[in-house]
Assembly symmetry: C2
Homo-oligomer: 157 residues x 2
């Protein structure tokens, strides 16, 4: 959103940032994911965001396929819009967890909070980690990285 991608459009990181580059986007996703917020006023109250900015960001989230706009109506009450995460939006759990992991470690705070993730199926707590084929975990600071074709990266996973 902040710049033309140009040749960078081949980079999966740049393509993600093109959608997620504005902090409000990830904060709205956070509220949907952690507080089960679905309504305009819920997002507004939780984030202290100006209504016009919130409206634009929600529209963008729908356009980008991260949220779905649904209308629901209870008897005797006027119809309301709700915003629900799509699968693409729910999969941002990986980005949300990564931000939380880094923030907890390098910007610690005594009364801090973070999301705790659990498998929807087994109920077991799940941690985000770098895992090698032999199942061992590698700390994020003990990695080397190089640019590789997506097809090769996908094959390895």
């Amino acid at each position: 959103m902040t710049r033309a991608l140009g040749k960078d459009s081949n980079c999966s990181i740049a393509r993600s940032l093109d959608v997620l580059g504005d902090s409000w986007i990830l904060l709205i996703i956070r509220e949907a994911m952690l507080a089960n917020s679905t309504r305009f006023q819920e997002f507004r109250a939780a984030l202290g965001i100006a209504p016009n900015i919130l409206a634009k960001r929600l529209a963008l989230l729908v356009d980008e396929g991260l949220m779905e706009r649904r209308t629901y109506q209870e008897p005797g009450v006027r119809a309301r819009e709700e915003y629900v995460l799509t699968e693409a939006g729910r999969s941002l759990s990986v980005v949300i967890a990564a931000l939380a992991t880094w923030g907890r470690t390098y910007r610690p705070r005594s009364a801090g909070t973070s999301p705790r993730f659990a498998s929807e199926d087994s109920g077991l707590v799940a941690q985000l980690a770098f895992v090698t084929e032999d199942g061992s975990q590698v700390p994020p600071s003990r990695l080397t990285a190089r640019r590789t074709d997506d097809a090769v990266v996908d094959r390895a996973s």
Copy 2:
């Protein structure tokens, strides 16, 4: 950078976004991590970023402890500045990998590229994944999440 954190300063995600909220920051980190760029002109050429913006972002990265500014001088050549990731900066591999994972899946592109991570110690390829205590992996879209005290989240890891 984009807003006052206020009560949100307890949230590890918001604290990370406060540093990383501008896309240039993560793109500079990406170049340092994947292309081993260290010099002003290398970042400038790779990102097509305006010099004044790059200078501000590099200064911020140093202030925030994500990069270290070093001066090196080869005989007969004038001294040069280089910017090297600190441990806090290197640990952003978790955020870079999360963005790549999401972008590769939900914004696929035929000639796309992503970082491939490997353990510095064993050389084994490492994938970012949600892992439960029993070692099984959970897809990012199959998770529930709730806000939890950092102390509890850390104990579980």
